[in-house]
């Protein structure tokens, strides 16, 4: 149990590639932090720097009171769960879990007690005598977690622990991690590329792209007020819709015009724009698919669109359409209330019109992608050249080979 602080942390590889730029984050005690981002965004590298498996090129990482930059992983009092489990194949489950304790010269009877406790928590007591080879993926992952919790570490690191599991098992394990987290009160840092995991698990989420932190915030903040276009597009499925719009001030309030449709911006955005010195005339308006509302043709301030594809998801319908301004849009329509006939009629429709749920819109700067209403928003970074031969990708390839 400890705070983790990262100050201006930077990682640069020998070939000059910068994997992580100037990473700043204060993680509170017992907080569950999720690092999320597309592959190659530096989230795993950051985690590995906290773990001590990767040298830190610049800045400072501290766990609790100690600056750990030059500390060996074993002295940092952390535990880590790996994507490929990394169980010791020649040891039984029991020995796998006990290994860390034995290295710390914990007396035998205490080792036994702790291993049994950990196994109890994870429901793997009957597996203790087996070898990792004889376990299924989910069981292996549980053993890996057991190995981590048995030491009661200050910080619990997880590097995409669920991505090797199939979808059903992943959902189950996700729920178990939430439960586990309630049982063992400690600081969690969790890396994933899956936004659902990020949203459901994290107290706070750190979104990264190309080595930069895009936004840090609660799932709610990230979802409702994404700091820039990247965050807006990354969080939420289907993706947020973006429209080019013009911003106009009328009678002390700001309005966005999408073509001829007029959208009254929420008061907080209007206020924020007023505070800003220079409000761009053109902006990008972002609306989530569920916040586009079907309406009758000819409704004032509506936008008409032609349906390209509909996806029937059961309780909701995803409509992919091309709107009058030539932009592709996605709508997410709740159809649970509709009768079968209404649903069929909707699915077969060719054209429709929609309005925007004004309360939920976000406005972004078209130049650097920043949310105009979020303070200190980070600009979307320009593309950086990817490393062709980094250690990480080579290792991944190797791991994949091993799995076969």
């Amino acid at each position: 149990m400890a705070e983790v602080k990262l100050r201006n942390v930077k990682k640069q590889y020998d070939n000059g590639f910068v994997a992580v730029h100037d990473f700043n984050l204060e993680i509170k005690d017992k907080e569950f932090i999720v690092l999320v981002g597309p592959s190659g965004c530096g989230k795993s590298t950051t985690l590995r720097m906290i773990a001590g498996l990767e040298d830190i090129s610049g800045g400072e990482i501290s766990i609790g009171e100690n600056v750990v930059n030059d500390m060996e992983p074993k002295d940092r009092d952390i535990a880590m769960v790996f994507q490929n489990y990394a169980l010791y194949p020649h040891m039984s489950v029991y020995e796998n879990i006990a290994f860390g304790l034995r290295l710390r010269r914990v007396p035998n009877d205490e080792v036994h007690k702790k291993v049994c406790e950990a196994a109890e928590i994870l429901g793997i007591t009957e597996l203790l005598g087996r070898k990792p080879k004889q376990l299924s993926g989910g069981q292996r992952q549980r053993v890996a977690i057991g190995r981590a919790i048995v030491r009661v570490p200050k910080v619990f690191l997880m590097d995409e622990p669920l991505s090797n599991l199939d979808a059903k098992l992943r959902n189950q394990m996700r729920a178990e991690i939430i439960l586990l987290r309630e049982k063992i009160q400690t600081t969690f840092i969790y890396v994933t590329h899956d936004q659902t995991e990020a949203m459901t698990l994290g107290d706070r989420i750190v979104i990264m792209k190309d080595g930069y932190v895009m936004q840090v915030g609660t799932p709610q903040e990230l979802f409702n007020h994404p700091a820039n276009l990247f965050v807006a597009g990354f969080i939420g499925t289907p993706q947020m819709n973006f429209f080019d719009c013009e911003l106009k001030k009328e009678a002390d309030n700001y309005y966005a015009y999408i073509g001829s449709a007029k959208v009254a911006l929420p008061v907080y955005i209007s206020e924020a724009l007023k505070k800003r010195g220079n409000v761009p005339a053109k902006a990008v308006l972002g609306v989530r698919p569920e916040n586009l509302i079907l309406c009758a043709d000819g409704t004032p301030n509506s936008v008409s669109a032609e349906i390209k594809v509909t996806e029937m998801m059961g309780s909701e319908l995803h409509i992919h359409a091309s709107c009058e301004l030539g932009k592709d849009v996605i709508l997410r329509v709740q159809i649970a209330d509709m009768s079968d006939e209404e649903q069929t009629e909707l699915i077969k429709r060719k054209k429709f019109a929609f309005t925007l749920r004004e309360r939920t819109v976000n406005v972004f700067d078209p130049e650097d992608g920043r949310n105009l209403a979020v303070e200190n928003a980070v600009a979307v970074p320009k593309k950086q050249e990817a490393p062709d031969d980094s250690e990480k990708s080579r290792d991944n390839k190797k791991n994949r080979k091993n799995k076969k």
Binding site: A51, L53, P73, K74, A86, L87, Y88, L103, R147, K404
Partner: protein
């Protein structure tokens, strides 16, 4: 019916090809075995100790072995070689495994250069360095009658170059295992001994075996370093002496008997560890 034929596993034509192939392979096998069979027959030949033009002995006896044991320093040479092999098996294995592990896991400046250098150096025949090695060992007083430690030193010193196969094996062990162990509280050395070594059994056995076998067959270095001092000979040098013009007529069958005795520990070891040998050599390629 004709439809059926297509699915039959072997047509007549295929069978003929197969028979030809087997005959060819059998012949190849015999050619391969002839020297060894010849050696065995000669070792048990009792009528004379000279080289003869026939293969099957007229008289079977153990005389050659008795002569070998009582009238020649053969067992002394045998012991020399055995000691060298034993030391080499330990030293070389430790060095090879450490070098291979370091090159597989650690990223340090000059790693690529070092690997390339060893590759290139390995391409030069060993005897290029023979003279220099001799003088260096002579400085330490490890030649002539003290050749046994000298030879151990030579074999061990160059053994790191044979890291390829072991490195290939280590490369297949996921790095995250090392990392997990380091986070669990293990030092680098402990990771190596507690995690990697138990998993690397096949490659350890393979390395030990290679290291043990090599000294039995080394003639070049052993003959140079011992420099005619019979008491320090290994079996290869000692036995080869008997193939001289002046010795061959009296020692040929004894030579064969000695050869047979030399092959025993190696063959035995090989047979016992064959399973691991195959696993070790092909481990890198087909694992997983």
């Amino acid at each position: 019916m004709s439809e059926n034929k297509k699915f039959r596993s072997k047509s007549g034509k295929e069978r003929v090809t197969r028979i030809i192939i087997y005959i060819f392979l059998t012949a190849l096998c015999l050619i391969w075995l002839i020297p060894f069979i010849y050696l065995v027959f000669q070792a048990f030949r009792g009528e004379s100790r000279a080289m003869v033009t026939y293969i099957f002995p007229k008289e079977w006896s153990f005389d050659n072995f008795i002569f070998l044991s009582t009238k020649t320093p053969f067992w002394h040479w045998y012991l020399n070689t055995f000691i060298i092999a034993l030391f080499n098996a330990v030293l070389q294995s430790v060095i090879v495994l450490c070098v291979a592990y370091a090159l597989s896991r650690m990223r340090f400046k000059g790693r690529k250069f070092l690997m390339n250098l060893m590759l290139v150096l390995g391409m030069f025949p060993g005897f290029l360095s023979m003279i220099a090695t001799y003088f260096i060992l002579k400085l330490f007083g490890l030649t002539s009658e003290n050749s046994v430690p000298g030879l151990i030193l030579i074999y061990a010193a160059s053994s790191g170059m044979g890291y390829y196969i072991a490195k290939g094996f280590f490369d297949t062990i996921p790095k995250s295992l090392d990392e997990a162990a380091r986070i669990d509280g293990a030092s680098r050395a402990r990771v190596f001994f507690r995690i990697i070594m138990p998993m690397a059994k096949p490659i350890i056995i393979y390395t030990i075996m290679m290291a043990f076998i090599a000294p039995w067959g080394d003639f070049m270095y052993a003959s140079l370093i011992t420099f005619g001092h019979e008491e320090a000979y290994n079996v290869a040098v000692g036995l080869y002496k008997w193939l001289d013009k002046e010795h061959i007529s009296n020692y040929f069958t004894v030579f064969c008997a000695g050869g047979l005795l030399v092959s025993i520990p190696i063959t035995g070891l090989f047979m016992a560890l064959q399973k691991y040998y195959v696993e070790g050599v092909t481990g890198g390629a087909v694992k997983g």
